[in-house]
């Protein structure tokens, strides 16, 4: 593990947008000048104190940051092992971590003079966050959402509409997040002059993976300070759920060079990773490929055709993963595991009963892995888990899975 900046894990990506072999800029020529311009503008903003002052002002007064680091006393007692802390990003305005990143991109879009914002969304959290910030700044907002997700995330669709966004159901492919991303890219390629593409996760062509990570890194920065304040030392294990991987990258990044901190990412195991690709575990069940502008681990068949994953959680239902995660996986800095739908559902209910917190299905995956490891760890082992979203949006899905009759 590194002790100096030359061997730091935090210097990526390189000038070609690569984390090792992962990342890059695999886009059509039409988009190339746009992402180069975006990169230049982001590089400028990144070192501009006024940009960050605006971000912090909005994080504080609009989002409600810092989010608390909460000692989950009853879950800790229930598991009987490690001491469990939850980073409460579900308490953010709009109910998830997504708004951390959206604010950054929208402020950047405004600096670039863009008037029309497009976004893709899976569970709808990124769509709601984008619609929210667009409403706040009076920007036109178009959200692409897989038709299947429009159906299973109806409350979020209505929220976006209330916020004045246009929600476009995407019917190509199987109508999930990957197809929504395809259509958002098609929109961008068509409306190159006035449109800003606000990507919701640490994927896509460079500079998106690095930029989104930098905006989400506020999670890890706060958690690091809060843990030091609460316990006088860093956590032993940090853990987060991964679809594209933005909440996880946000928590992990500020800890990458803390060699004593064990990092665990939890992918969606769906019906089981060995069970005919009925999962979304790109790292545990996929191999490197090129999609949506970057090289990363992907679910694909032997001919390089992208496969549709499965997860009970719409927010994790993506056949790829952010390229920096692929790199952290390959170099062994982070451990990646998977959790099934059934395990996540159990953790969801446990969290409701033990802590009075209704978690989203995404962090329920992380909690399910905590449930596996915590009982076997010593009582002074500190776990920090990112509670990246609240579960209001998921109650219909959970009710259905539990066989509960509910009028939706």
């Amino acid at each position: 593990m590194p002790d100096d900046i030359l061997n730091s894990f935090m210097t990526g990506p390189d000038e070609n947008g690569r984390f090792g072999q992962f990342g890059g800029r695999f886009v059509s020529e039409t988009l190339m000048p746009l992402i180069l311009e975006l990169e230049a503008q982001y590089e400028r903003a990144k070192t501009d104190a006024r940009f960050w002052a605006e971000m912090h002002d909005l994080w504080t007064h609009y989002v409600g940051r810092p989010s608390p680091l909460y000692f989950a006393e009853r879950l800790t007692a229930h598991f009987g092992g490690a001491k469990i802390y939850l980073k409460r990003d579900e308490l953010n305005h709009t109910g998830a971590h997504k708004i951390n990143n959206v604010l950054g991109q929208i402020i950047l879009a405004r600096r670039m003079g863009k008037t029309r914002i497009i976004a893709e969304t899976g569970a709808g959290q990124h769509g709601v966050a984008t619609a929210t910030v667009c409403a706040k700044f009076g920007l036109k907002c178009v959200v692409y959402m897989g038709a299947h997700d429009v159906e299973r995330q109806a409350p979020n669709v209505f929220r976006m509409k209330l916020l004045g966004a246009e929600v476009v159901p995407v019917t190509s492919g199987r109508g999930t997040l990957k197809d929504a991303m395809n259509d958002a890219l098609r929109d961008w390629v068509t409306n190159v002059r006035d449109t800003f593409y606000c990507i919701g996760t640490v994927a896509g062509p460079h500079p998106y993976p690095a930029m989104v990570r930098d905006f989400q890194a506020i999670i890890g920065k706060e958690a690091r300070e809060q843990m030091l304040a609460a316990e006088g030392r860093l956590p032993d294990t940090i853990i987060a759920a991964i679809g594209g991987g933005s909440n996880a990258m946000g928590l992990f990044y500020p800890f990458l060079d803390d060699k004593e901190v064990h990092i665990i990412g939890v992918e969606a195991g769906g019906k089981g990773v060995n069970d005919k690709m009925e999962h979304c575990a790109s790292l545990t069940g996929g191999r490197p490929g090129v999609l949506h502008g970057n090289r990363t681990y992907l679910l694909q068949d032997e001919d390089g055709q992208i496969l549709e994953g499965h997860s009970i959680s719409a927010g994790l239902d993506y056949p790829g993963i952010g390229p920096e995660h692929s790199w952290l996986h390959d170099i062994g800095r982070a451990e990646y595991v998977s959790i099934t739908d059934i395990e996540a559902l159990e953790a969801f209910q446990l969290c409701c009963h033990q802590e009075g917190i209704i978690p989203a299905l995404e962090p329920s995956h992380a909690l399910a892995h905590v449930a596996k490891i915590a009982p076997n760890l010593p009582k002074d082992h500190l776990i920090c888990m990112n509670m990246c979203g609240r579960g209001d949006k998921d109650i219909f899905t959970v009710a259905r899975a539990l066989g509960w009759e509910m009028q939706g």
Binding site: N16, G24, R25, F26, V27, S28, E29, T30, L31, M32, P33, L34, S172, G173, K178, N182, L185, R186, V189, T190, N191, V192, G289, V290, L291, H292, G293, R295, L298, Q300, E302, D303, G304, Q305, I306
Partner: protein, 264 residues
């Protein structure tokens, strides 16, 4: 000299513009797709663009995306697409075949292995939509070293600053994308395209062929008139989508080719 270079030399001698036709390999099934491809040279097609099906064609409109889905559902694979080229080569050793698609199926096969197989199958050039010059070390340079043309897309957003970078490692011809957008969308306008083609030609000796948004014989003539040729894809593919028989599709292709060849 690849078949592409030879073809453009012939067209120049004949004082003709090029007509390029795109079809998705294996759409709607292997046999009828092969039958159509074999009929293209006689219909006046100078260069065949053979679409490599991909699940996530981000730069294409619904016509091409659905064609790819039909092909994949019909069992089309990279091996079968290469086999189609081999079959055509049994009866036609002159018409260039350019494989057009996305990088992942090629990356998945392995670049060196793919290039050897493509060369062996009689493929002459590649158009890979999601490989801009910034990623030239991936496939562009290895392809040129293997003797395949790597044909670049230039677009309305490729400004004068960027053009030299685009032209640097390209060969065969330049494919100018007439609109900002996806295949099969808005109509290409000769009045807009002409100055752009002239701008590109001031920086290269390569032929400039224009595609996207060309749907009729008249449009092919108008666009070819301001460039070195025209490409039609979605308009042909939509006849396949409608289930038209091969002779009827070939007749439509001939009308497009005649349009492009009428251009001065």
């Amino acid at each position: 000299m690849t078949r592409i270079d030879t073809t453009f030399a012939r067209l120049k001698r004949e004082g003709k513009k090029a007509f390029v036709a795109y079809v998705m390999a294996g759409d709607p099934d292997y046999d009828s797709s092969l039958e159509l491809i074999k009929a293209l040279p006689a219909a006046g097609v100078d260069i065949i663009e053979l679409g490599l099906p991909f699940t996530d064609p981000m730069a294409d409109g619904s016509t091409i995306q659905l064609a790819g889905q039909r092909a994949l559902e019909g069992g089309q694979t990279l091996d079968k697409t290469l086999q189609m080229a081999r079959e055509l080569r049994k009866t036609d050793n002159d018409t260039p075949i350019v494989m057009m698609g996305y990088y992942n199926p090629i990356y998945s096969r392995g670049v060196d292995r793919f290039l050897a197989q493509a060369k062996d199958a009689g493929i002459d050039g590649l158009i890979i939509v999601d490989l801009p010059p910034e990623e030239d070390s991936e496939l562009c340079i290895p392809a040129q070293n293997a003797g395949l043309n790597f044909i670049r897309l230039a677009t309305p957003t490729s400004d004068d600053k960027r053009l030299p970078k685009l032209l640097e490692n390209t060969s065969g011809f330049i494919y100018y994308v007439s609109i900002t957008g996806i295949t099969g969308a808005a109509n290409a306008q000769a009045a807009d395209v002409g100055p752009e083609v002239a701008r590109i030609k001031s920086q290269t000796d390569l032929p400039v062929i224009v595609g996207f948004g060309i749907k009729t014989s008249e449009a092919a003539e108008a666009i070819a008139g301001v460039a070195d040729g025209a490409v039609v894809g979605s308009a042909i593919v939509s006849l396949i989508e409608q289930g038209k028989p091969v002779p009827e599709i070939a007749a439509f292709v001939k009308s497009l080719a005649d349009g492009a060849h009428r251009a001065k």
